[in-house]
Subunit: 239 residues, 2 copies
Amino acid sequence: MTKGKLYLMPTLLGSETWDHVIPAKVAELAINTRYFAVEDLKSARRYLRKLDRTFPIDKSTFFILNKNTLPTDLSAMLAPLRNGHNVAIISEAGCPGVADPGADLVALAHQRGDFVSPLTGPSSILLGLMASGFNGQSFCFNGYIPKERKKRVFTFKDYEREVSKTGQTQIFMETPFRNNNLLEDLLNECLDATFLCIACDLTLPTERVQTMTVAEWREKAFDLNKRPTMFLIGKPFAM
Amino acid sequence: MTKGKLYLMPTLLGSETWDHVIPAKVAELAINTRYFAVEDLKSARRYLRKLDRTFPIDKSTFFILNKNTLPTDLSAMLAPLRNGHNVAIISEAGCPGVADPGADLVALAHQRGDFVSPLTGPSSILLGLMASGFNGQSFCFNGYIPKERKKRVFTFKDYEREVSKTGQTQIFMETPFRNNNLLEDLLNECLDATFLCIACDLTLPTERVQTMTVAEWREKAFDLNKRPTMFLIGKPFAM
């Protein structure tokens, strides 16, 4: 029997319509899968029903894969592969394994010699980078910004230094309900001439991506509260 | 009159069928656009004809946007926005502005206050990261690996140090016809225990993604010649 594949299955970034961000063949693959490792049961089911209103939720198996999952629970999620079934990892938003759970299950699959295949879908990191106008030949995603004030300021300075030294774009984020806080700190602590890109509500009808200097942002800041946002510090790219 | 938008329009990574990697609404947007800034004229036209056999090439305007484009040529490419027309940037493969031209035109658009919107499509950097099983909370794309042997070895050591110190995944690439060369150098110079992911022919029927230690790769290396490949050094992720 041919072994199944472990698919990395992207999902929506918010309430957009699925055919804006998910290729038809990726949706088809999701609809034909019956084994899932999901970050959140409710939102994974909602997504599958969005792709196909008649999706047989009750005939499917869902494993929970999040930060509370024990390493010893992982191998059961890969067991269907041996019997020729595909397994799809679906995280809460965007691409599994990128600032979202999934990588540990993928690591185990490689260790077992299973076949791993990544599917195309939206990633706010990549979309933010594309639309920033910053250097996309060299960039760094740093994940969540430190919460502690002193560390946070030190981190900004670090990013500014890296950008001015090597031109490498620095990408980071914050929990959405603290976005305005982060923006305030950035505007208080960064240099006037530092270029900041704010990529907000990506792929949604309210999407807004803007790159300006910190001095300009101080005049034109807008409300980011609870809006999914990617922050980037970089150098406007000239070829 | 409403101003047009500057769209970052992804394209295929190779000869795959478009509905595997391009969402239907992104294809529709491409088909309804008449102004393009393209890295390569021939492949952009081929792509548009793939999306729609009857695409009116002759009624469309194509600007060339590559490393030979002069900064003074950029503003003409944004002129259609003022008249309410959209402009789409299309690069040779994958996502414009990410290891591909486009960022300088986007930077100018931000400077002018134009509306910039990134669209979803395949990126071999992101797909490779998703499928690597490495840390996706912190990663760095380094672009092309240095050609000069000494610098190259120094770079490998640098990546190994960074991974063992911070766990940050290091992503890099090489011109496809030199891939086997890079692999040989990696296997000669990296530590036995270093984890290397090779993500080859992503989204194509011949796709193969594998993560192993350098010691294991020495036994199981396969031919990468002229196959588009992403290389990653990282730590298999455990939550």
